[in-house]
């Protein structure tokens, strides 16, 4: 039974080392921004079809664009501003502009100890112009860092 006593001493050292090592946080590899996921569909065929050319930017955000003359983008991913309760986006689909306005509520969400906190959103009223957009179907009002489709744009 002296073995147990000897093991006790060894266990002290091992325990302290393991606890110190196990408390070291690791890097953040997860998505940290919740975005509205918007796939594109052709209204004529009701089939998924990415625009040939897509530009999206927030209204009154200067020259900073979310997508700039991008090809084969679907779904588009639109971040929302948690410091306000609505966001306006200008979508230029194949050279034709439309504006959509999304109203929403924001609330904090813990991603992980490594990544910290983000904001999730619940979307409300959605309004838009109809220059090239035919319809926007709301599929899911909860905007998270996951891959769920939120709005479906038919153009």
């Amino acid at each position: 039974m002296t073995g147990l006593k000897k093991n006790n001493i060894a266990a002290i050292i091992i325990a302290i080392l393991l606890i110190i090592v196990s408390c070291t946080p690791e890097a953040c590899f997860e998505e940290t921004v919740a975005k509205v996921k918007v796939p594109f569909y052709l209204s004529s065929t009701q089939k998924a079809k990415a625009p040939d050319n897509l530009t999206i930017y927030g209204l009154n955000t200067g020259t900073d664009k979310i997508y700039a003359d991008s090809k084969s983008v679907s779904p588009a991913e639109l971040p929302l501003d948690p410091s306000t309760d609505n966001c306006s986006f200008v979508l230029v689909i194949n050279g034709v502009s439309d504006t959509i306005v999304v109203a929403y509520d924001s609330y904090p969400h813990l991603i992980s100890i490594e990544c910290g906190y983000t904001y999730y959103h619940t979307t409300g009223v959605l309004s838009y112009t109809k220059n090239i957009i035919d319809t926007i179907i709301v599929k899911n009002t909860l905007v998270t860092t996951g891959n769920e489709e939120n709005f479906r744009i038919l153009y």
């Binding site: 093991n7 060894a10 955000t61 410091s83 966001c87």
Partner: protein
């Protein structure tokens, strides 16, 4: 990965110790006298870590009482003050926990003699704490937002299994250690603001947490019992089989 390898090392030490203790024993007596004890213990890794990392204080004590040579009842509790900060947020958690359950000694009475214990504890734990995020920063296309989440009270609970060892180092003074595997039942908060740290449990962002405890115990013998030693059945010889 480092955590997994750490716990594998601990389990290996447990297995080696059992096999070490099992070897080299003499013929056991027919009965052994086992002192039943009330044990008052304190966990020491928490205060030791506090000297290394002033952001995390965890103090824990417990009382356990032997019911017989194999089973004991356990009740423990503690206090935790946890702080964590990194580039994009700061987190505080402070509160108490209590846990209760049983201890099971897997050693044979003639080996344990009331001085040694190699077994497992099974416990149910309750954690009552306040959690706060004094600051967090969020960046996206629209810019940077700095905010906070005010302090709220939470009440979580969990299950714990604690395999480990104890040995009497001096008269009525025991030291021991255990590996603690905990399963969170409920964190006390919704899925959006899961607490990063629950007193008594550990990281609330995980469903399962691991830990190691090292403790000192003061033993108070209160009764002696005689326990019959179960001897291994000798293998049946050829001569016996002929008769």
């Amino acid at each position: 990965m480092r955590r997994i390898s750490g716990y594998c090392t601990s389990i290996l030490i447990i297995l080696l110790s059992v096999s070490w203790e099992a070897s080299g024993q003499t013929e056991p007596p027919d009965t052994v006298e086992i002192p039943l004890k009330i044990k008052i213990g304190a966990e020491v890794t928490g205060p030791v870590i506090y000297f290394i990392d002033r952001n995390n204080l965890n103090v824990e004590g417990f009382i356990s009482a032997d019911l017989n040579e194999r089973y004991g009842v356990f009740i423990g509790g503690g206090f935790s003050d946890y702080k964590y900060s990194q580039y994009n947020y700061e987190y505080l958690s402070r509160g108490f926990f209590i846990k209760a359950g049983i201890d099971i000694n897997f050693l044979r009475p003639e080996k344990s003699m009331g001085k040694y214990w190699a077994g497992a504890g099974l416990r149910y734990g309750l954690s009552s704490f306040n959690s706060e995020v004094p600051f967090f920063e969020y960046d996206n296309y629209w810019g940077s937002v700095t905010s906070s989440i005010p302090s709220s009270a939470y009440f979580g609970h969990y299950l714990e299994a604690s395999p480990g060892f104890r040995a009497e180092m001096f008269r009525n003074f025991t030291m021991g250690w255990s590996v603690n595997i905990r399963r969170l039942i409920y964190s006390g908060a919704g899925k959006d603001l899961r607490p990063i740290y629950l007193p008594g449990f550990g990281s609330g962002s995980e469903k399962v947490s691991f830990g190691i405890s090292y403790f000192f115990l003061w033993n108070i013998p209160y009764k002696k019992i005689s326990v019959i030693v179960k001897k291994d059945e000798p293998a049946e010889s050829e001569e016996t089989a002929i008769q």
